[in-house]
Amino acid sequence: MSVLEITDLRVSYGSAVAVDGLSVSVARGEIVALVGESGSGKSTVALAALGLLPRSAHVEGAITLAGQDILGATAEQLRQLRGRGAGMVFQEPMTALNPVRTIGFQVAEAIRNHDPKPQKHKHYHDRCVQLLERVGVPDARSRLGQYPHQLSGGLRQRVLIAIAIAAGPGLILADEPTTALDVTVQQQILDLLRDIRDTDSTGTLLITHNLGVVADLADRVLVLRNGKVVEEADTETLFASPQAAYTRQLLAAVPRLGDTAHEEQPEAERPVLKLQDIVVEYHGRKVVDSVSLHVGPGEFVGLVGESGSGKTTLAQCALGLVTPKSGAMTVFGGKLDRRARRRLGAVFQDPASSLDPTMTVEQTIAEPLLIHTNAGRAERRRKVVELMDAVELPQSLLDRRGHELSGGQRQRVSLARAVVLGPDLLIADEPTSALDVSVQAAVLDVLARLHAEFGFGCLFISHDLAVVDQVCERVAVLRAGQLVEQGPCATVLHTPSHPYTQALLLASPVPDPVVQRDRRRLTSA
């Protein structure tokens, strides 16, 4: 019996079509995944199912949730269905909870909304504790009086799941529920969702861009592109023998551990970057605790860790943005002065703020030339054109500004700006983490090409082990400010010695349902 039945859904905003003729059904106890990149329309589907689209959306088709027609429903009917027919879990646990009301209030409200005879909030406290325990929140009773900012991201997401299932719905709509979480926490949340399905036979519509998550959790998969369904199959079939070209392309773009061959690298004589026993404190707490690492000339070194590991802070030290409390740092064998900075390039994570909105692409890439050289206008243009070719961007974009470019294009311009002076060291802080999988693959390709051409060393910070394996020769693993393991990728990422690294590897889902199932068997045994 299906809890959600969508037929020929079409959603448009003015002339822009977000969803174009989508049909999907979710049965009790079934987990169906909607996979796609940004702009594929997958989030729109979930919002439409609960009637949560903005007034400006034009919706056609048919949606039936728990037997009730959504598109023709009144406001009150919709309100009653939200929470009782289906519960929704959103992506950002940090902002999805009201910061000035207690956890107890917000969970109790979810129950009370569907109580035909609503009582005072206190009346629901026992049930709240039950719910919180069900989703694995430790010290549940004491949490009732706490506020969201007192909980970690993972705990908040658990609370949000508790809120979603509070009224006992037959369906959970999960829109990128683990994207904002660390890999180890993500694993726990995925396990929780699976457990809820096993115990209560709840159906789940899982929306995600992460193929590893799909392989781990879903029973059936729909692949979306530009609002249309490109392929639909059960999970094992889709991953084993994808039919559509787009699906194959997507699967090929996902970086996998072990795909890249690593060559043995000799120990570098004169490292371009050397960090020795760096300690950074913040409010008395050690954010980076005595970490040492180095980057040899032309060498790509990965720096991995979860949030709070100190990897970003360490990168900021290397860039001179943060002063360590103790420890030594040399860049090109000396201090990080203006001359050293000429040989340094930096790329950051957020494409939205990586380019100055008031500058054209040409001006952006040429700026380091203006700062460090006397190159005239003609020569600057020549150099810029050269770099545009290197990052594979058409010349027609030279006069455009940031907001006219896509995320991937912006990151390429960032890279061009970073290497225009032919640097010897590049610091890349999560440069592709905010990009879609296929765009990421293209940008990483460009990075490899630039490396071949310019030969710079690179400190590559990421939370994604597979990307680091693909791009780097050596890797350092950080945890809570401490260096846990360091060495060649071939060793650390394939036969790790430290239990934390092993846990990290196990927790990162791979786009292969068979492997994921085996892992689950291993961990539960």
């Binding site: 949560l52 519960g87 009201n98 000035v100 909304n113 900012h149």
Partner: protein, 319 residues
């Protein structure tokens, strides 16, 4: 939490300190200098010189400033040029009356404006919002003295309901004995506060309605009215409270004008008369008192913030 309060207190003290520096500097830039402040306008140069020597005004500046500070701390704000009294006595007389006016206007402004701002936000773009926002715009653009004029004309002349002048008298009781005469001044003052507060409340509410937690509340089936009053309102309130605390200077400016219009015997009227007569000790004394009140106001706002915003009250977790 105590660290937050301690820091705020320290900042407040620094600002008050800096204000005394400003008033001291102005006092010394005056034609004739501080001697005039004590001896009066008619003093001769010889008298001034003698005074300067005897009072130590020929001392180096830092010493003078120290003396000034000490005098301030003893409540000595100098003597008025025109009246035959100490500035501090004048202020002590007048301040309670101004406080009566400003506090009442503020409270009324809050009572009117906050719910109004919320309603405007929920009916954004619709008739109610457009009309009230339009009216608010007009009121915001209306100088307080014009508003007072209009009120006088309408309610004291065309429809003679209220007196056009406030009751005179030295004590608070004298004022309160004729409550009808307080109505128009308070209305004018409320015009200032209500408009500013409702504008801010409206934009704060609109911003909050776009937040993620509102979407979560809707997704779990919470009725719109509950979302507004039990989710959005407490969030808007925290920022509005601090805005109210920081609006003290505006309220005082308003009261200055209102008092002159209605001949209300408060600090504002005192200031205006002093400005017309170049009575500097009074002018500077008032400036000092208002500055201190402003700082107190913002400090109070911070304390209330502490009480109602759990993010400040309770320390967060390491994420």
């Amino acid at each position: 939490m105590t660290r937050f309060l301690a820091r705020r207190l320290l900042l407040a003290l620094i600002v008050v300190f800096l204000v005394t520096v400003v008033t001291f500097v102005i006092l010394h830039l005056l034609p004739g200098g501080p001697a005039r402040g004590v001896l009066g306008v008619k003093a001769t140069q010889a008298q001034i010189d003698a005074f300067n020597a005897s009072q130590g005004f020929d001392q180096p500046i830092p010493v003078q400033y120290w003396d000034y500070l000490v005098r301030l701390l003893h409540g000595d704000l100098g003597a008025s040029y025109t009246e035959n009294t100490d500035v501090s006595t004048l202020l002590a007389q007048r301040l309670p009356k101004t406080l009566l006016l400003t506090v009442t206007s503020t409270l009324l402004g809050i009572v009117v404006a906050l719910p109004l701002g919320v309603w405007q936000a929920t009916r954004r773009g619709r008739a109610f919002d457009v009309v009230t926002t339009g009216l608010a715009f007009v009121l915001y653009a209306t100088p307080v003295f014009f508003l007072s004029l209009v009120l006088i004309i309408l309610f004291a002349q065309v429809l003679p309901i209220f007196p056009a002048q406030a009751a005179q008298g030295d004590t608070l009781a004298a004022l309160l004995s004729q409550p009808a005469s307080l109505v128009l001044p308070v209305l004018a003052g409320t015009g200032v506060t209500a408009v500013a507060y409702s504008r801010y409340m409206r934009s704060s509410t609109v911003d909050n309605l776009a937040e993620d937690y509102v979407r979560t509340a809707r997704a779990k089936g919470t009725p719109e009215r509950t979302i507004l009053w039990r989710h959005v309102w407490p969030n808007s309130l925290t920022s509005v409270v601090s805005m109210i605390g920081y609006s003290v200077p505006v309220v005082f400016s308003g009261s200055l004008v209102v008092e002159t219009m209605f001949n209300y015997p408060g600090v504002g009227l005192l200031f205006w008369n002093a400005a017309r007569n170049a009575d500097f000790p009074v002018l500077l004394g008032v400036v000092l008192v208002i500055a201190v009140t402003t700082v107190l106001g913002s400090l109070l706002a911070d304390v209330v913030q502490l009480l109602i915003d759990p993010r400040v009250r309770v320390p967060g977790a390491k994420s």
